[in-house]
């Protein structure tokens, strides 16, 4: 009878609902730990996963806005750190969706690295290769702690996987620094000697020693820094790129033997937007970064003398004539011939009576009237947003300057130190005046100029304690005036474009605040002074 049959169906449904496996579902878009960490391929996937977002171009190219070199107009996260208005609450506030920008506090990368270093144990692969993979990841971890200790001082150090209820106190900065140095020492024995063309962007021995030299220099360990920088300089795989301007352009990345550590970029998959952010408005960029007056003034005259030196021949009404060629190659200033026009950030209107998009008050114009040229060149709007230029984190020139600074500080190898500086100047086309002496002033100036907008000035200001003299007060950009569109001749006015008033609180000791979210969720955390 039918009803009986239907009763049967009813019970079938009941039974199938009882079936134990009926409720098992397996994710099909992602791997799981159960099946992973077995083969060389797994290790390859995990290694690339570690490199993903290990550093962002913004933290390299925009960090000078947190110093006297520049100004960042949209507050991608750097402006408020530059002018002293940073608070624990707005620490990660950024108008730009690059999650890596200013995100030095996060431990998500550290966790990824620790996870790799823990779980690769079960992977079956060539033992030596495994050690190299581990060394690469240990480098990335050391690099991350390097930033943490530089920006926050004392900071919790975790070397293993921790559970979600972790509530750690801060480790002393010295302890963190020692950990980084020990790690770098250890892995430099494992990693290969290769430049980036050979390594394809993998971490090398040169990178490990170079980062070590950088930290040692910052800590005043001049002997060690000199030794490590020399070791890198002596590696046969590195050499200065012949042209200072071209060194930074995307098309030359495959010939660049100067780069020691870099972030690799690729169109349509791992691209950056630096040209969009940096180019002038008329070139359809957003001019996010402006060079300051102080930066421009730091460049020598072409005779090697400072503009403040009456013998330099510096003419305030022709401020860009006869200057260190690196000024021209680093900064787009009013009257410079650029992309088929004389760059003009000073006049409101174009000769045809239309508004001048490059005028420094316009939305996408350089607020200071001086765009940063390093790393970018004119390109189509599409390419600007899909840029494949690699961004160097450490390059050979820094090692030269590190060696030279150590030479001054220790009084040893000063001849070689001077030679290195002269090599850099020669490469850029700047005169080495007769009787040139290796002095700390020279080294500091050379470092500021050669490495402008490469993200090192903040650390230099900090370790030289220049803050009270260079940070507080008004920050200026270009001098005001008017540009002749035909000749490029600038008729200068008296004043300078004022960008902002900056505050400097020495109590803060150049440290950033611990983000409020961490203060709220970790009772063991303490705030840095002055916040």
């Amino acid at each position: 009878m039918k009803p009986i049959k239907n009763l049967f169906i009813f019970f079938l449904v009941l039974l199938s609902a009882c079936n134990k496996n009926a409720l098992n579902v397996i994710p099909k878009n992602s791997l799981s730990d159960v099946i992973f960490w077995k083969t060389q391929e797994d290790a390859n996937l995990a290694l690339a996963g570690c490199y993903n977002s290990w550093e962002t171009y913004m933290n390299i190219c925009f960090l000078d806005a947190v110093s006297d070199n520049g100004y960042e107009q949209f507050d991608y996260g750097y402006q408020q750190k530059g002018n002293g208005q940073i608070t624990p609450a707005n620490f990660q506030q950024s108008s730009w969706p690059d999650k890596g920008a200013c995100n030095w506090f996060t431990y998500s990368r550290i966790r990824k690295y620790n996870n790799f270093l823990t779980k690769i144990a079960t992977v079956q692969m060539d033992a030596n290769k495994k050690e190299v993979y581990k060394a690469e990841v240990r480098f990335l971890r050391a690099y991350d702690y390097f930033n943490k200790v530089m920006f926050f001082g004392d900071i919790p150090v975790v070397k293993e996987l921790v559970t979600s209820d972790v509530k750690l106190k801060r480790n002393a900065a010295a302890e963190v620094q020692q950990f980084i140095l020990d790690e770098l020492t250890a892995i430099s024995a494992i990693l290969p000697v290769q430049n980036n063309i050979e390594s394809g962007g993998h971490i090398t021995k040169g990178a490990a020693l170079a980062l070590k030299a950088r930290l040692e220099l910052y800590l005043g360990k001049y002997t060690e820094a000199m030794q490590d920088s020399k070791a890198v300089i002596d590696m046969p795989v590195y050499q200065l790129y012949p042209n200072y301007r071209d060194l930074f352009l995307p098309e030359n990345k495959l010939n660049n033997r100067e780069s020691i550590l870099e972030i690799e970029y690729l169109k349509d998959g791992y691209q950056n937007m630096l040209p969009q952010l940096s180019l002038p408005a008329l070139d359809l960029g957003w001019s996010a970064l402006s060079a300051s007056k102080s930066m421009v003034d730091a460049y020598e005259c072409s005779n090697g003398k400072l503009i403040s030196d009456p013998a330099s021949g510096y003419n305030p009404d022709k401020p860009f004539a006869n200057r260190d060629p690196r000024l021209d190659m680093t900064i787009i200033y009013p009257g410079q011939f650029w992309n088929g026009r004389y760059y003009n950030s000073l006049d409101k209107l174009l000769p045809n009576g239309n508004k001048n998009p490059d005028y420094h008050e316009e939305a996408a114009a350089s607020r200071g009237g001086q765009n940063v040229k390093k790393y970018v060149k004119p390109m189509s709007l599409q390419d600007m947003n899909n840029n494949d230029g690699n961004i160097m984190v450490i390059r050979l020139a820094e090692m030269y300057l590190t060696f030279a600074e150590c030479a001054v500080a220790t009084g040893q190898n000063t001849g070689l130190g001077l030679q290195y500086i002269q090599d850099l100047r020669t490469r850029a086309g700047q005169t080495n005046p007769p009787g040139m002496q290796l002095t700390m002033d020279l080294v500091r100036r050379e470092r500021r100029v050669e490495l402008a907008f490469e993200g090192l000035r903040f650390f230099d200001v900090k370790r030289w304690d220049l803050g009270p003299s260079v940070l507080p007060g008004p920050l200026y950009g270009s001098r005001e005036g008017t540009v002749d569109p035909v000749s490029g001749q600038v008729t200068w006015a008296a004043g300078y474009i004022k960008l902002e008033d900056r505050q400097f609180n020495p109590v803060r000791n150049y440290l950033l605040p611990i983000p409020q979210s961490e203060m709220d969720s970790n009772p063991a955390m303490t705030q840095n002074p002055g916040y």
Partner: protein, 998 residues
Amino acid sequence: MKKFYIRYLKLLLLLLFLSNHAFAQNVQVKGRVLDSTDRSPLIGVTINAKGKSISTITDKNGDFSITAPAASILAFTYVGYLSKEVAIENQAILNVVLNPAASKLNEVVVVAYGTQKKINLTGAVSSISGDKLEGNPATSVTATLEGRLPGVTITQTSGQPGRENTSILIRGMGTMNNAQPLVIVDGLESSLDDISPNDIQNVSVLKDASSASIYGSRAANGVILVTTKRGKAGAPQINYNTYYGWQKPIGLPQHVSSGQYATLINEGEVNAGLAPQYSSDEINKYFSGADPYNYPNTNWVNLLLKGSGATLDHNLSFAGGTDMARYRLSFEYYNQDGLVNNTNHKRYNVRINLDSKANKWLTIGLNSGLSKNDVDSPVSPYGDITQFFRQVNRIPPTVPNKLANGSWARSIDGNPIAWAQEGGLANSQISHLLGSTFAEIAIIKGLTLKGIAGIDYSFSDNKTHIQTVAYGDGSVQGPNSVDDYLLRNSTTSLQSILNYNKKIAKHDIKVLLGASKESNVINIDEGYRKNLPTNGLDQLAAGSSIGWTNNGQTDEDKLSSFFGRFNYDFNNKYLFEANLRRDGSSKFAAGNRWGTFPSFSAGWRVSEEDFMKSLKWLSSLKLRASWGKLGNDRISNYQYLSKIALGQNYDFGGVLTDGAATVEASNDHITWETTTELDFGLDADLFNNNLLSVSIDYYNRYTDNILTSVPVSAVFGLPAPIVNAGAMRNRGLEIQLQHNNNFGDFRYNLSFNAAYNKNRVEKFSNPSKGNTIRIEGQPWDSFYGYQWTGYFQTDQQAASSPHQPGAPVMAGDLRFKDQNNDGKIDGNDRVVLGNTIPIITYGFNIGLQYKNFDLSSFFQGAGKVNRTLGTEAEWPFVNGANALTMHLDRTIVQGGKIVQQGYFPRTLINQTHNQVESSFTVLNSSYLRLKNCQLGYNLPIQWLSHMKIAKARIYMSGQNLLTFTKFPSGFDPELPEGSGAYTYPQIKFYVFGLDIKF
């Protein structure tokens, strides 16, 4: 004498005969019987000549014809209606209107897996019948329900066609997860979006644990049961409804003119220590408007809102059948243009409901709804329509829309007006099938078995075609691209339900046993290519192979359940119900998968007791109580599994290398979130039933083991995992009052509903603090910031008073309270500042009817509720944005002190210390809104009868006509939290409509 008697007798007989002739003269009376509320014809009304054995019934059109003695009185009786007696009095045509029986004894309410007499209900159920929603056009079913049901909070956050973004909360926010109620359409889980309002028979909202618990796992936030209309035995009923309407924005942000902009930005720059950028000559040029290309005054918002907003709807339905088979078919076409060009929503609905009594013991049937939604909105190389609104709210009026030669001008990110016209189109074609077949077998008397097999399948076919936009400066924004995104969402469900009813003397017993199985799979496939040779091509094949991408994903979950219900009532006086449900969810690990959820409820119809009979004013009184437990598993899938995400790639030497990494934390201990709810209710009818009816509910809902993430130290290194973390309580009171009456032909009804709900976090181990806070003792996700106490009067006062370290505070800046008196304003000075969930919601309805005219207006409101506009709308000049006219009311400072006090602090450029979350930015968003006002007219039947039309009604109505609020003008108090600068505006909707019944 005898002769005399005979003559007398003869006369008498004659008289008798005559009189008999006169009194017994039969007349034919024709007429029609209509329902008093909706003027629909009543079929099968019994008409009886009083005291005679003459009777008839009305036909399918409500018409009757009766031949009765001219002096008779006709009695009209009809089940569910008040009887009426009408004397014939020489009338040949007699049209009669019957009033529904005020006695609610027979009123039936749709409940879980069936219906129940309202008087026997022991749970908290609100319901509204479809005819109340009919002829009340709104852009969606959800919108028509707003404010009509106590305890149900509905917000619509956008007026964009097809993307209205409505959200429903029943009795407040009961969980930290998805708090939307479960929507069941004809027994299957679905959504309200794809139903035609005209197809709705009834909407019931199951609010307390006992009424909802049989739906177990997903019922913790309440259940909305929608029953669609079905055919009735009888001649075909044909309905045609149509309306035409148009929209207007409720309010738009009022931006400053270019002259005001230049003036204000100069002031801001001077305040920030910078040089003013506009000369007075330039400011004059902006004010004069003489040079519209170099000194324009562009109203970007107006330029964007050029769409017609025209809306057209046709709905046609056929219903009828025999005792053996009944049918209802309906079709709807809906076409709405938005306020922005190229925004459009077309909806096609087909619904087929069939019931057939196959034989003595078997009933089979089909419910099916097919819908297609076709939604267009403009896109640009820079983003979707939110970016359009963001840009028109951002770009200063000093930027022209077009250059002198007619080409597009461009601002920093492009030109939103150019995008709207040339930037391309995003089109979504969403086909949705919700269908089920059922078979019900009568096994023995009182015992039935019902099996339902259902499919809910939606196919969403999205094409985003971005076109390049060329600007007058020679730049081209691009690249053009095509993105095809296909999403299939399929839910299959099987249910078996065994029902047993037995009545023994005064004992009435009902038992229900059931099992169900449900599985849901979402599949996504996506392909993308860019750089197509021309903007005219929109197919993937035309795109470049450089930079193409594709993607595919799947997501799956399953649910198995057993459930049972037991109802007992004694003499319709003492009522009892018990439910038990056991659920297994694939979202939890094997050991934590199953949960058991019981509930009990009882009712006492006090008015049936003898001792109450003397209270004549009390027609009925029922007390209810319920207690129950419900489970919630609404978290994303696979949370208990440790996963490694792919796509974590890196470029090694010019080769994109695949990478993998763990990016989220898993927790294999997670299990059911449970909600325990206690409800006490009272239903009463006072003063002869129809004068006043009252329904009151008190509830206490405790949600425990809430599945959420608890803040973790950043050192953990992954986003906080989902854990069974907290507990919260919602306590509230709901009240509903109804009053109907009539004075002759004038009828009116008034109804009022209000709800009070208080939310409190009871357990949360590590408070989550930011601009909102989750902390024990406070409502969930309350605003959290500084307490604003006024303005700094002088620079000196600012410098010497507590302020945020590093903030360059000066005269005219906001002053915040140093709660802990440590001399500075920092994270420790934050306090709770309000919440986006209203504590009070209410609505009231006024309905008037006079002869053929009806007028109804419906008001709805929310009180004790807060919102922020978001930084870009709240403050002027945020990252180069525009300012609003409200920002002109600012504080002006000269020489280090305030010279003119305004509402806003001094205007600043690039300095954000006033913009922190505080009681200045958290705004009161209480409102009262005239949600709907409608005037209708039923055409007289005599005009219609020869056209075979049973009923025709014309009406005009308006939606969202008036809003009373203290929220900043130009912004809707219901806008999505913090998105003042991004949202498609809310709309007013004016409509003319026609309903015809054949």
